[in-house]
Symmetry: C2
Subunit: 147 residues, 2 copies
């Protein structure tokens, strides 16, 4: 298992991961179209965004998006924001998510980030335990407004 | 009162706002140094980041940072992430924060963002009521890990 930056050929597998999710199912379709292609290209071209996949011998079994947010707080430190963390349903319980998050945290430390942060839907109890085990603190309310 | 992108000359006033905050006081100093200058320049140069100030006749009385995160979810939509929302203590209760957030939400809608999101420390009860009034839903746990 390696973690690496996604390439265009990974897009169908990543969309499958997003759509397979209980909450993602209502929001997305697994069919690559021009809009998804453009979004992929935008992420890929942005030096502060990385779409990462967990690649098990050529098969994408996990994904996440890393965003490095520059800021003034904490003496001008960047913070890592993690979005869209998914592990393929039939590969859960194999510590893939744990290894992927540890990889992300190492990458953020190497880059000099002062903090890693993410939000997780309050209905995802398993995810909360998972992040608390990794050392995250549920110190904040995560507020969302659909536009 | 206008809301506009911050310029280098606003940096001392913005740092004052960050340091005056109850939680920011432990983390930052109001003295502009090279590190803060570099962080300001990094935000300013990034087309997906904007440092915004509330300018009342030439005086900075509020600030916030807007980050537009590209993504695949929600059919490849960007989301607006809001950080570092501050209103000068002696100017609270004048709906400056409300007007600033409404301005941010309009800007995100104009850009085509599908969502606005932020996290707020669980100790900030006033802030929670403020965001709920604006239509935000406290649907997520906000997880943080200091690096």
């Amino acid at each position: 298992m390696i973690f690496r930056t996604a390439v265009r050929a990974d897009l169908p597998a990543i969309l499958e991961l997003l759509v397979a999710d209980q909450l993602g199912r209502a929001r997305d379709r697994a069919v690559v179209d021009e809009t998804y292609e453009q979004a992929f290209a935008a992420i890929d071209a942005d030096p502060r965004n990385e779409l990462i996949v967990g690649d098990d011998d050529g098969t994408v079994v996990a994904c996440m998006q890393l965003t490095y947010i520059p800021g003034l707080s904490r003496h001008g430190a960047e913070r890592l924001q993690v979005e869209a963390v998914r592990v393929r349903a039939d590969r859960r319980g194999q510590r893939i998510g744990e290894r992927m998050m540890a990889w992300a945290i190492d990458r953020a430390r190497d880059r000099g980030c002062a903090m890693a942060q993410l939000t997780t839907d309050k209905s995802r109890a398993d995810a909360h335990r998972f992040y608390l085990r990794l050392g995250f603190v549920a110190s904040h309310e995560g507020m969302k407004l659909a536009l």
